[in-house]
């Protein structure tokens, strides 16, 4: 029973974050500087999710920024594909195939 209450509270905390400015406080009441800065949320958060997923990969999630980390080249290829083709499937395909080829070559 206790764990169910914990999970409910976890859900309430998460929902509260999601509701905050969408439903609880109107965005016009946020400080002006913060409102202007909000347009940088997307590039900041996406980059902050992408980079660690590349540099801390592998089973032990240890830091690896050497050329031996196949994900670095794979994401570079994907980034190039994203700029040239502007297509999500092509970007994923380019990155995954590069990674698999490099892993297959190394293994």
């Amino acid at each position: 029973m206790r764990v169910w209450l914990i999970v409910l509270a976890m859900g309430a905390a998460t929902y509260g974050m999601r509701l905050s400015v969408l439903a609880l406080v109107h965005h016009s009441r946020l400080p002006r500087t913060l409102r202007e800065a909000l347009r940088f949320v997307t590039p900041a958060v996406l980059a902050a999710i992408i980079l660690p997923a590349i540099l801390y990969s592998g089973g032990s999630h240890s830091f690896d920024a050497t050329p031996g980390n196949e994900r670095i080249l794979a994401v570079a290829v994907a980034a190039g594909a994203a700029l040239l083709a502007r297509n999500v499937w092509l970007t994923i395909g380019a990155g995954m195939v590069t990674l698999w080829l490099l892993q297959w070559g190394a293994g």
Partner: protein, 241 residues
């Protein structure tokens, strides 16, 4: 957009979410397997996917429950891990201003990293359209269904896709596809750069605080770059006049 209907917006949202499901499905399987292997009852493991609906925070919550950490610490940790959702909420709010309360409460429940990335990219391109909220709804439903289904399979089978398939890489790749076109704007590029450096440095900070610090410093870097550009521009125009 001409001729867009509720239905076409909904389906466009589902389609936009499909590439992300490539990475989300193995993640859901892994969560389901991890939860039952950590000793959570199957019903509770599944309920967490419905009640919390947030990948990384469910792993954190499961681990802390299994370790017998005090309830207040668990809830606070999950709140911190999901604090970035408040930023998403603020960032999307201006586009959803016109909606009634029921829609806003529904869409808030469906607000995740994956939905946010797809929806904000669309809204920044097309602005606030008449049925644009149906796009958000379609994206959210697609993600929700696949998250519940993959959790259920992970719970039932107790095993996940082998790590050697590297399917977890699909998620950063999809985000790369969304991020790259944004970087042509110099302040946005500065925001991404600063955030990436902080996120890598703070990867092991507790409760996802590295990610929050990265978002905050990235936003600050973007603002600063924009202000500097503005001052140089006005100085230049002052010289020429």
């Amino acid at each position: 957009m001409q001729g867009a209907s509720r239905r076409s917006e909904f389906l466009a949202g589902v389609r936009a979410q499909l590439p992300l499901l490539l990475g989300v499905t193995p993640f859901g399987l892994a969560y389901g397997a991890y939860a039952v292997n950590s000793g959570l009852a199957s019903g509770l493991a599944q309920a967490m996917s419905v009640i919390v609906f947030g990948g990384a925070s469910q792993f954190v919550g499961t681990r802390l429950i299994a370790e017998g950490v005090p309830a207040a610490v668990i809830v606070l940790s999950v709140a911190l891990v999901n604090a970035r959702h408040a930023l998403y909420s603020a960032s999307l709010a201006p586009f959803l201003d016109h909606l009634g309360r029921r829609w806003r409460w529904l869409l808030a429940y469906l607000l995740t990293d994956e939905a946010y990335a797809v929806v904000i990219a669309r809204y920044q391109r097309d602005g606030s359209t008449r049925f644009g909220h149906w796009f958000f709804f379609g994206t959210g439903v697609a993600l929700w269904v696949s998250w519940q289904a993959s959790t259920a399979v992970g719970v039932a089978v107790g095993a996940s896709v082998p790590a050697s398939w590297s399917l977890d890489f699909a998620l950063p790749l999809t985000f790369t596809a969304i991020l790259m076109p944004m970087l042509v704007d110099r302040p946005a590029g500065a925001a991404a750069m600063a955030a990436a450096v902080v996120a890598v440095a703070g990867f092991r900070w507790p409760y996802g605080s590295g990610l929050i610090a990265a978002a905050a410093l990235g936003m600050a870097a973007g603002m600063l770059t924009e202000r500097l550009a503005r001052t140089t521009r006005s100085e230049r125009s002052a010289e020429t006049s």
